[in-house]
Amino acid sequence: MSGNADTTPLAAGERPPSTVVGPLAWLRANLFNTWYNAILTILIAWAIIRTVPPLIEWAVIDAAGFGATSEMCREATGACWGFVREKLRFILFGTYPYDEQWRPLATVALFILLLGASCDRRFWKPWFGLVWLAGLVAAGVLMWGGVFGLTYVENTLWGGLPLTLILSVIGLSVAFPISILLALGRRSDMPAVKAICVAYIELIRGVPLISLLFMASVMFPLFLPTGVTIDKLLRAQIAFIMFAAAYMAEAIRGGLQAIPKGQYEAADGLGLSYWQKMGKIILPQALAISIPPLVNTFISFFKDTSLVIIIGLYDLLGTAKAALTDPAWRGYYREAYLFIGLIYWAFCYFMSKYSQWLEKDLNRMRRR
């Protein structure tokens, strides 16, 4: 007979004591488990009580609703959401001709549709590249017009959300393949290729994006022969692509370095060529590892498109700022920045969530 207490069977239905489970135990374990955590908990609770109710008061209780006129807003002590309603189309679409603004709206919808579809791994096939190409052509037709009875709209009039999406989506999707080549080049055995890639990456990473945008808008035209002009938007787009490619290349290089030498040797041993080895064995693994830093780059570049304001392009942030200059609606910058902040946040939060899902999905089958 064993007198060992551990082997004594538990009485049926016996529950652990309330010091281990239940809400009190949870509080103890998570919020008050040490004296400094207890102090932190109390401090944070105090900060929440001090900030959240006034915020709700401002944003909801004392606010003038979306239907408010500028007169009603001036009387209200809280937020003026009437401003957002009044300026919504200007913030979203900028100076695009008012009656034609269904076109940028359709462009935004098209981009969101394409991005949404790209999230599904079943579409990760070569033919989907053609779908994207068709989508970009359609977006170009919608935005520029001049064909199919659409009036021509110069791209200096583009602004707001479509501009932000165009700059970031085209920028990142063109920069991505370039960055892969740069990352591979940086690890190449060929000294010339390696030197060029290292020089490019270090040079671009060493200057601020703003200076690159200035160069693209001010200095670059000086080097062109007279009579040749490249569109300002295109120049900004190229500057973005160059910048993003350098950053993404470093993210991908990190992934490449994490692939064990044995993978290269096994691929070599089977007689795969360099591009087969990279395309079939190394990159699929390296890119999966690179997802977190890549998404980090994606998110920061999506937001960095707002820097084009300094060369006179009006993206989402630019149009919001411009909307604030209306004398009738002056001073509502909190509402304006909250609103566009929410739009930026929605896109970035989605990217972040999607990348977490993708990472899990890619790893699920491998480790079990």
Partner: protein, 258 residues
């Protein structure tokens, strides 16, 4: 069979498939391979043994140019290994290699691991590559795991898949680089069984291993290396019962003592 000629030198015996003459290799200042002369006949089964750091792995890795030799010549099935990338790719198609750590591709299923090279290097149609791969997986008794990922298999199973993956390229030579060294003891046998089966099929095999039982029962020739040199080579009978050099005797006494 015709005498193979490269650069006007006739060197091959009829059945010779691997020819190393005066091969040297250095890692920086360190002389890993010293004057290696080795000739392997078609269908010959060779076990290479020796203390760690003796250059045995480096030697077989030079045979498919995972490592570069700096002096001497290596000719595989009539193709000399030089800086010529075309030749290297041609040789690698004909030489399969099994690694100590398996090196399966973790993002591909077992079946995809096996069909990748036949499809992309040999340009075989996918359907045929798959049915052939299934035959080889059957042969290493792992066909039931074909749709799993390598991470879901045990070490012994992974190594058997690695052998099948090499065989799918229908190589003329198989190189084994300590194939059982990274395995848990109970899994060594399943891998050795597959290798014994392969040996009886007439495959040319070069195997770096410490499995002396395998050497005794399967090898046509045992090569002993120490400090980058081939010290002694003989049939397993004579090698184990009557080693000529002191270094061989010392090595054998160390590995056979328990």
């Amino acid at each position: 069979m015709a005498v193979t000629e490269t650069n006007g030198h006739a060197y091959a015996e009829d059945a010779e498939i691997i020819h190393c003459a005066g091969v040297h290799k250095w890692y920086g200042e360190f002389h890993v391979l010293r004057d290696i002369n080795l000739s392997v006949r078609r269908g010959e089964r060779i076990v290479i043994c020796g203390p760690s750091g003796s250059g045995k792995s480096t030697l077989i890795r030079c045979l498919n140019r995972l490592e570069e030799h700096q002096k001497g010549r290596i000719v595989i099935d009539g193709i000399e290994l030089t800086g010529n990338l075309k030749n290297i790719e041609l040789v690698r198609r004909e030489v399969g290699m099994v690694f100590q750590h398996f090196n399966l591709f973790p993002h591909l299923t077992v079946l995809e691991n096996c069909t990748l090279a036949p499809i992309w290097v040999r340009r075989r149609p996918k359907k045929e590559a798959e049915s052939e791969a299934m035959q080889y997986l059957e042969r290493v008794q792992i066909a039931d795991q074909a749709h799993k990922y390598p991470g879901q298999l045990s070490g012994g199973q992974q190594q058997r898949v690695a052998i099948a993956r090499s065989l799918c390229m229908k190589p003329k030579i198989m190189l084994f680089d300590e194939p059982t060294s990274a395995l848990d003891p109970e899994m060594v046998k399943e891998v050795l069984d597959v290798m014994v089966g392969l040996a009886s099929s007439g495959m040319t095999m070069l195997c770096v291993t410490h499995e002396m039982g395998f050497a005794k029962s399967v090898a046509d020739r045992v090569i002993f290396m120490d400090r980058g040199e081939i010290v002694e080579q003989n049939t397993p009978d004579l090698f184990f019962t009557n080693p000529k050099s002191d270094r061989t005797r010392l090595f054998l006494s160390q590995i056979l003592s328990h």
